[in-house]
C-alpha cells in the first residue's frame, strides 16, 4: 500500500499510531527490510500462513491500541508446530485490544539494533541509530543526525556508537551489512522530510543476522494530527 494511504486511513480514524503491521508496511514502502509477516484473523488463516512461512514462527497480537507487547506478554516466540501455533493464536486473539494476530518467521541472530526517527522542536526530523533490544534504554548508546541524511552521514552515525564493534565480525558471525543499515537511515530521514503526519518511528529490534543481514522485526509509527513547525 502507498504510504500516504496508510497514514490517511489511520488519521481519519483519529488514531495516535499505526499498528505494527501498518508500521512495517510503511517502512517497507520506503525500502526498509522488514520481516515477512501475515496478519491473520482466524486460526485457519494462521495455519495457512504457517504453511507458507514455515516453522519456527513468532506470533504477536496486533492492534492500534497495542504497544509494549513484550511487557504485556502479547508475543509468542519459537513456535515449532501447528499445536503450539494454535495455543498461541487462541491466547493472543482473545487478549484485550487485539485486532488480529501477526504470524512471522523467527529471524535468526542475537545482535539487536534500534533505528528511529524523532522530531525535535529546534532541529525538526532527526534520525537515530543505536544498540537495540530490550536493553536500549539501559545501554543508551545512540547517535542522531538531522534529516535529511546522506549515506556518508548515516555511516558516520554507526561509527559514532560506543558499541560499534558489534557491527563488525563478532564471535563467528559476519559483520553487518553497513550499506544496507545506512540505506535504512537515509530512508527514515526521507520519511521525516516527506510525511508530516509521522511524529516518531521506533524500529526495535532490527536483528543483525549471522551472515550480516538486517531485518526489522518490530516497528511503531507514532502519528501527529496537525502540521508542526520543523
Amino acid at each position: 500500500m502507498e504510504p500516504e494511504k496508510i497514514l490517511e486511513k489511520a488519521l481519519l480514524e483519529g488514531r495516535k499510531n499505526l499498528t505494527e503491521h501498518e508500521s512495517k508496511q510503511l517502512l517497507a514502502a520506503y525500502g526498509l527490510p522488514v520481516a515477512r509477516e501475515v496478519l491473520t484473523q482466524s486460526l485457519e488463516q494462521a495455519l495457512s500462513a504457517a504453511a507458507l512461512l514455515g516453522y519456527p514462527l513468532a506470533a504477536k497480537a496486533c492492534g492500534s491500541k497495542i504497544a509494549h507487547k513484550s511487557e504485556k506478554s502479547l508475543v509468542r516466540l519459537h513456535l515449532q508446530d501447528d499445536a503450539a501455533l494454535e495455543k498461541a493464536f487462541q491466547e493472543l486473539a482473545n487478549s484485550p485490544d487485539a485486532e488480529g494476530v501477526l504470524i512471522s518467521p523467527m529471524i535468526a541472530g542475537n545482535r539487536e539494533l534500534v533505528l528511529g526517527l524523532v522530531r525535535d522542536s529546534q532541529f525538526g526530523p532527526c534520525v537515530m541509530a543505536g544498540l537495540g533490544g530490550v536493553l536500549t534504554e539501559v545501554i543508551n548508546d545512540t547517535a542522531f543526525r538531522m534529516a535529511p541524511v546522506n549515506e556518508g552521514e548515516a555511516l558516520d552515525m554507526l561509527d559514532e556508537l560506543n558499541g560499534k564493534a558489534i557491527l563488525g565480525p563478532f564471535r563467528g558471525q559476519a559483520g553487518a551489512d553497513k550499506s544496507a543499515l545506512a540505506a535504512c537511515l537515509v530512508a527514515l530521514g526521507r520519511i521525516g522530510m516527506e510525511q508530516e503526519a509521522v511524529k516518531e518511528i521506533d524500529v526495535n529490534p532490527v536483528i543483525l543476522g549471522p551472515e550480516g543481514s538486517i531485518t526489522a522485526v518490530d516497528a511503531l509509527v507514532v502519528l501527529q494530527a496537525r502540521k508542526v513547525k520543523p
Partner: protein
C-alpha cells in the same frame, strides 16, 4: 553566504564609526557608567554620543537629552537602561534612523511572566523599523581590531584570531585576561544574551566571513534556529574550524541554562550528532573550548591520528602516550630511518622509540632542532607532542658560570630561548604538521610564552595537549567528510 564582511547585516554593529550611549552618567558605580568608561578606555576612535535626560556632560563628553537631539544618526546605540525604558527608547532610535542596537538591559524573557510580553514588544518595534539588535540581557560585542568593547570589563591583551559567539557574557569578559596568558585573543566576540533578534547563527555567519577570525568558538545553552544552524555551520566549517561547548545536555545544565537565557535545550546525544554533522568539533568544558580554539586557530591540520612524542623524562612520556590512547590517537613505531637519525642525538641512557625519551641532551640545541626535525620527517607521524622543561634559571646557570653578570646572562638566555622557539615554529611551518607542547610549570614563563607567541600552543599537562591535537585531527576528519 557572505563573502565580503561589509555586506553582513551585523557589520555596522561590530565596526561602528559612531555610537549613541544610553544609560551612562557621572555616577561611576552605575553599570552604564562602567561600560561607557570601558568603551572609552579601549580607545574607540569613532564618535561617542552619551544620551542623558539631565547631565549635560557625561565623563567629560558632551551629552544629549534625547535620541532625537543627536547631531547625526549613529551606526550603533548601546542601551544600559532601566527595563521599563527600553521599548520606548528603541522606538525613538527607530525614528532617528538608528538601525543597530545593543541591549544590555535584562528583565525580559529570562525572568518569565511580564518579561515575555516585554521581549515580544521589543521584537515588534525592531521589526517595524528594520532594527537589528543584540540582546537583551547581554553584554554586547568586542572587536579589538577596531578598539571596540561594549562590555564592562576592560579589554586586555592584543587582538587575535578567535571569533566567539556566546550565550554567556562571562566567556567574553573573563577571557580577555585568560586568553592573553596564552598569547591569543579575540578577533570579535559576541554575547548574544536572550537572542531575541541576533542569535548564534547570525554571529556564526558574520564570523565565517570575518577575515581576522581563523577559528570560531561557540558557547551554547540551546540552539533555536537549529536547522539553519546546521546548514550555516556546514558551509563555514569547510573553510574555517568551528568548536563548540554545549551545556544543555545534562538535566542540571538544562535547568541552569533555562533560567539564564530562557533557551530550550535538547538531548546531549542529539547535539553530539548535530555538531558532527555540521563539521563542528565539540569541547567538553569551557577551558577545553579555548584550548581547541587556540590549537585549531594556529596549527596546520593533522593528516591523521598518529602522534610522535618527544620527552626527556619517562613519566611525562608514558602519561602522554596513555592520554593519546584514551583519546583515540595513535602512538606509532618510528621508521628505521628515523631511529638511525636519532641515534646520533640520544645518549645511551635514553630510549629511541615512541615516545622518544632522550633523558638528557648531549647538545641542548638538539632538543629543539635535530630531534623534532627527524620526528616531523617521519612519514608515520602526523603530529608532534613535546614535553618542555626549560625554566629560564636552567639556561641562566651555565651562562653565568662562564663569568657573565646576571643581567647580561639573562639577556643571552632569553635570546637563546627565543631562538629555540623560532626554530621549532620554523620546523612546524616547513613540515606542515601540528606541534603542541606541555608543561607542568607556569604557562607564563618565558619559554612557553615564546612558543605560544609563535603559534605553538603549550598546555598544562599532557591530557589537555593531547585533546587539542585530537581536535586538529577531528576537524580534518569532519572537513574531509563534508567535502567528500
Amino acid at each position: 553566504m557572505i563573502n565580503d564582511i561589509r555586506l553582513s547585516p551585523l557589520y555596522p554593529m561590530v565596526n561602528p564609526q559612531s555610537i549613541a550611549f544610553l544609560g551612562a552618567s557621572n555616577n561611576f558605580s552605575a553599570m552604564g557608567s562602567t561600560i561607557f568608561s570601558s568603551l572609552r578606555k579601549a580607545g574607540f576612535p569613532g564618535r561617542l554620543y552619551p544620551v542623558h535626560p539631565k547631565e549635560k556632560v557625561v565623563q567629560g563628553i558632551a551629552a544629549f537629552e534625547k535620541v532625537e537631539d543627536l547631531p547625526e544618526t549613529p551606526d550603533l546605540a548601546v542601551f544600559v537602561l532601566p527595563t521599563r525604558l527600553v521599548c520606548e527608547t528603541l522606538e525613538a532610535c527607530g525614528v532617528k534612523g538608528i538601525r543597530h542596537v545593543i541591549i544590555v538591559t535584562a528583565g525580559f524573557r529570562e525572568v518569565g511572566g511580564a518579561g515575555l510580553e516585554l521581549e515580544k514588544q521589543l521584537v515588534e518595534t525592531a521589526k517595524k523599523w528594520g532594527i537589528r539588535f543584540l540582546g537583551p540581557n547581554c553584554i554586547g560585542v568586542t572587536n579589538p581590531h577596531k578598539l571596540l568593547n561594549t562590555t564592562f570589563m576592560r579589554s586586555e591583551g592584543s587582538a587575535g584570531f578567535i571569533g566567539l559567539a556566546s550565550q554567556s557574557g562571562s566567556f567574553v569578559t573573563q577571557m580577555f585576561n585568560y586568553l592573553d596568558r596564552f598569547k591569543v585573543g579575540f578577533s570579535t566576540a559576541f554575547s548574544v544574551g536572550n537572542s531575541a533578534d541576533v542569535d548564534i547563527v547570525d554571529c556564526l555567519e558574520y564570523l565565517g566571513a570575518c577575515p581576522h577570525t581563523k577559528v570560531i568558538a561557540l558557547y551554547v545553552e540551546g540552539l533555536v534556529r537549529g536547522r539553519l544552524f546546521v546548514e550555516t555551520a556546514k558551509r563555514i566549517s569547510i573553510k574555517k574550524p568551528i568548536v563548540a561547548l554545549y551545556v544543555g545536555g545534562s538535566e542540571t545544565g538544562r535547568k541552569a541554562g533555562f533560567s539564564h537565557t530562557g533557551t530550550m535545550a535538547g538531548p546531549d546525544r542529539l547535539y553530539d550528532g548535530i555538531f558532527r554533522q555540521a563539521g563542528v568539533v565539540r569541547a567538553r568544558s569551557v577551558t577545553e573550548l579555548f584550548d581547541f580554539a587556540r590549537a585549531l586557530g594556529s596549527l596546520p591540520f593533522a593528516a591523521g591520528r598518529r602522534v610522535a612524542i618527544q620527552t626527556h623524562s619517562g613519566g611525562p612520556g608514558a602519561a602522554a602516550a596513555d592520554a593519546c590512547g584514551r583519546t583515540g590517537l595513535e602512538v606509532p613505531p618510528l621508521l628505521p630511518k628515523t631511529i638511525e637519525k636519532l641515534s646520533a642525538f640520544v645518549p645511551h641512557t635514553g630510549s629511541i622509540a615512541n615516545p622518544v625519551d632522550i633523558t638528557y641532551s648531549k647538545n641542548p640545541m638538539d632538543f629543539f632542532s635535530q630531534i623534532p626535525s627527524a620526528l616531523l620527517e617521519d612519514e608515520n607521524a602526523d603530529m608532534l607532542l613535546v614535553y618542555y622543561l626549560v625554566p629560564l634559571a636552567m639556561v641562566l646557570r651555565p651562562i653565568m658560570s662562564m663569568g657573565l653578570d646576571e643581567e647580561t646572562a639573562a639577556a643571552h638566555a632569553t635570546r637563546w630561548l627565543d631562538e629555540q622557539a623560532a626554530s621549532l615554529a620554523d620546523l612546524m611551518g616547513r613540515h606542515n604538521k601540528p606541534i603542541a607542547g606541555f608543561t607542568f610549570r607556569s604557562i607564563t614563563e618565558h619559554f612557553p610564552q615564546a612558543l605560544m607567541s609563535r603559534g605553538i600552543p603549550v598546555f598544562q599537562g599532557p591530557e589537555k595537549a593531547v585533546r587539542a591535537l585530537w581536535a586538529c585531527y577531528e576537524y580534518a576528519r569532519l572537513k574531509s567528510r563534508l567535502l567528500a
